[in-house]
Symmetry: C2
Subunit: 264 residues, 2 copies
């Protein structure tokens, strides 16, 4: 569990939790209140990477610049490390109640985590991805898979930060939309980088999508149109945020800009 959780990575999801909470309120304690949810989403993200990397799934040997969990510890321990991280994520989330988050808000976050990470979300997205590997032909199908595989947990992270700061309905909805778009832009950018990046910067072999004959955005739309899509999605995401009556949406918008321009 530690090996994969502490392997680095962008920490995008926990940053989203904290940035969303800080966008709602300038209360100085807000990070301490939101930090449990930040840890929970990173644990869920890490569990999903460990299981996705297994030989039965994507069969990847490297992740974040080092051997994948099952390459280090064997398939059984990797399955259990994922199970342990997923379960522990819910534990860590409940502890927010001891850091000043009202019980109803903590319950709302647990409920949302279990949906966005579960069959209606990430798990369903991964199932569709596995089943569709031979047959994805339309942009619509690809968007559907990525909304669930990637966007859902990002949207959930933002909403969790919102709940920690007791955001209102309008703000939570804007966080959901922002997360959906940024998550999709992030995934398209990932596909682009797999084609155009270097192994040194990415910490994993490039052009793996091509080798595995995966249907990606650049494959369906071409590189230029894919890049345009990233810019449009980011613009829409920022607009949703600016109309939600947030105190300080700046940092979230910075993150979206960073995702648009990253090279790893």
């Amino acid at each position: 569990m530690d090996y994969s959780l502490l392997a680095g990575g962008k920490r995008l999801r926990p940053i989203m939790v904290l940035a969303a909470a800080e966008a709602v309120t300038d209360n100085e304690d807000i990070s301490a209140r939101a930090v449990n949810f930040a840890c929970a989403v990173e644990m869920i993200h890490t569990y999903s990477l460990i299981h996705d990397d297994l030989p039965a799934m994507d069969n990847d040997d490297y992740r974040r610049g080092r051997l994948t969990n099952h390459k280090m510890f064997g398939d059984a321990m990797a399955i259990l490390a994922g199970d342990g991280l997923l379960t522990h994520a819910f534990h860590v989330a409940t502890q927010a109640a001891k850091n000043g988050v009202p019980a109803e808000r903590v319950l709302a976050v647990v409920e949302e985590l279990s949906m966005y990470a579960g069959l209606p979300g990430m798990v369903g997205g991964q199932v569709d991805d596995m089943l569709g590997e031979q047959g994805v032909t339309s942009l619509e199908q690809l968007v559907h898979i990525h909304v669930h595989k990637t966007s859902d947990l990002i949207a959930c992270s933002l909403r969790a930060g919102g709940h920690a700061a007791e955001a209102d309905y309008k703000q939570l909805t804007a966080f959901g939309l922002f997360g959906r778009n940024v998550g999709l832009a992030f995934q398209i950018q990932d596909d682009i980088l797999d084609l155009t990046g270097t192994e040194e910067k990415l910490g994993k072999p490039v052009k793996s999508d091509e080798r595995q004959e995966k249907v990606t955005y650049p494959f369906l739309l071409g590189l230029d149109e894919s890049r345009k899509r990233v810019a449009e999605l980011t613009k829409e995401a920022n607009e949703a945020l600016l109309q939600a009556g947030l105190k300080t949406p700046d940092r979230l918008i910075e993150i979206a800009d960073y995702l648009l321009n990253r090279d790893h």
Copy 2:
């Protein structure tokens, strides 16, 4: 997820949830309040069976009289079905708040589920079991593994039923003890039945422990001493229950007696 969840089985854990709730109060609505937790623990139990049966783990072909999940749907789908059930268990548990269970009690159940099912509980027990397969030599080690692999979720089920009925601290503690002992007795009985039962009654091949050279209670203690252990543990469990000031502990005691005398 449906294939394994609806495959039958004894439904011991959900029955424990409902029986514990009914032991605390004679409120007629109590089953409706406790039923979410009953579903949650069965989902967690089923996920653990699906993952334990995988080729990377115990590599079992049959479960509850039919092909195991990965034999039907492949390893990837079995991993995802387990992930989906584990995640959905937490979702179902949160919905108890909509059936009249106070938010603090629902949170307590989510917190306990995440511990008893996680690294300090079932996942840790399975890890120790896998790591110990070559080297378990003492009864102490075997008890440690089974307390976590089996007892923890049973204890958690009883405590969840208790929380649904707003049990007091003393009652929750008695449920925990009862669950620990009954779970251990249940596991010893499983080992005994693997040696003495028939494939027809068990719905799975017998003597699989011997074939896999597993260290079991009958292996360490002999059949007679193992049977005596089951009786002692059940007696202790019943005594703990009778001293907790419960309204109607009868059904729980009936369940313990059933476990002691079952042949499948």
